[in-house]
Symmetry: C2
Amino acid sequence: MGESSNASQLIRLHEIRKACSSCSLRELCLPVALDRKDTDELDRIVEHRRPLRKGEKLCRPGQPFSAIYAVLSGSLKSSLLGHRGDSQVIAFHLPSELVGLDAIGSGSHPTTIEALETTSVCKIPFSQLEALSRKIPGLQHQLLRVMSKEIFDEHELLQVVSRRTAEQRLAIMLINLGQRFGRRGLSRTRFRLPMSRLDLGNYLGLAPETTSRAFRRFIDQGLLKVTGKEVELLDPSALQELTDGMSAPFHSRKQR
Amino acid sequence: MGESSNASQLIRLHEIRKACSSCSLRELCLPVALDRKDTDELDRIVEHRRPLRKGEKLCRPGQPFSAIYAVLSGSLKSSLLGHRGDSQVIAFHLPSELVGLDAIGSGSHPTTIEALETTSVCKIPFSQLEALSRKIPGLQHQLLRVMSKEIFDEHELLQVVSRRTAEQRLAIMLINLGQRFGRRGLSRTRFRLPMSRLDLGNYLGLAPETTSRAFRRFIDQGLLKVTGKEVELLDPSALQELTDGMSAPFHSRKQR
DNA sequence: CGCACGTTTGAAACTGCTCAAATGCAGTGG
DNA sequence: CCACTGCATTTGAGCAGTTTCAAACGTGCG
């Protein structure tokens, strides 16, 4: 996080390349072990691009699909436009995560992908990735795994958004973000929310006012400490309890 | 729909095989043109199984993943178990559709997949499919397409479930089902709902009572004719209007 | 024919949304 | 450097849609 953005071009390039192998392409390289030679080949096809500034768009809906992207640093949000002007945030992408997988099917990007802050990504031309994955079975398998996982994650999000109260949604989100930061060696309990409350609410299917009130209740209960976008989970286990749907007041009815 | 289930074994096998190439594996064969030889090879690795009776399960959560399935006739629902006894319907699967794609990532099935009526499926061993798709680039591409489409569909469902009123959700669902039946040469406006109202409501994130009331309002408005599970869309364009989120009363707020 | 289950209907409670306005924060230009 | 403007966030009050609880109704299967 927070790469120095005024390092010399050479150092920068080196850093990105290093980040790429060790972190950002992690989703493609782990957990199926690709050997040194394979990751080198993968490295060879990725393209590096200048960082996106806050608000800059990686792609717009309808744009032809040619590559997927991996986040190196910063963060992205992808959103879908409704049949009118309204937009729905579909996902947030943190470093090491892959972006654009939903465009393969139709051949064009269905979403708008936008930087939430200064963000650098690398581009992986899809046709080359396909070709390479034909040569490297482990890579092919891993690509399918990543996509499958995305489907699974989507299922979980669906559950969250359709059957949980505002507080539960927020608790789940905070814990999920914590885990994702934690996976990259950062604190699971103290982090900076890269997105606005409005985007967060939109993602969780909540009005911004409701999101704000949920934050307040958590703060009042001593579960959370919030300073601007900075968040600290004071009682992660209590939040986890909420997550489990316990005492589910509203929604949820035992089935079968 | 409605294959004669007392035809002789031989005829049955022939029919299934025929259905497999022309219909059920359509998702894998179309729209990328696979030539005759390729589809034959694909046919060779699929396994046929005896039909599932209503309520029978194709897989349970945690079961090791080894194959994906294609629906030949009948219908399935897949559902996720919550941390307690509650379950959430994730998807319904009609003939020609592929099932089990969400299990690749973790190596075990996250969902319960259950027959809603007498249903026949064919099994496609995943390792063989992977191997075959290495030999047939078109197949590899198509497999990725199908998975990507699933991600995209999930995104759309997310929008439906998180930002639409009960009536809008039902309208969207009915039109969606109509399209899926229509794709298989059946009527888009008259069909039989294979699932219970309870499952339907669960899928749409609604209490069964709410689902029922939404049906009633549509019937009273003359948009729908319902006889048990049989449904007729009397005014599809009016339903489509609702779908577009028009006049969105509740939810939805213009963004940006 | 009868029981069980899915479906429907009614009434009340509740969550989250909408509208409206105050507050805080950040980037801009003087 | 500071004031200003615009936007994000917060807070309050009222309303609407959905859920919940409860009970009647219909249908299918033994």
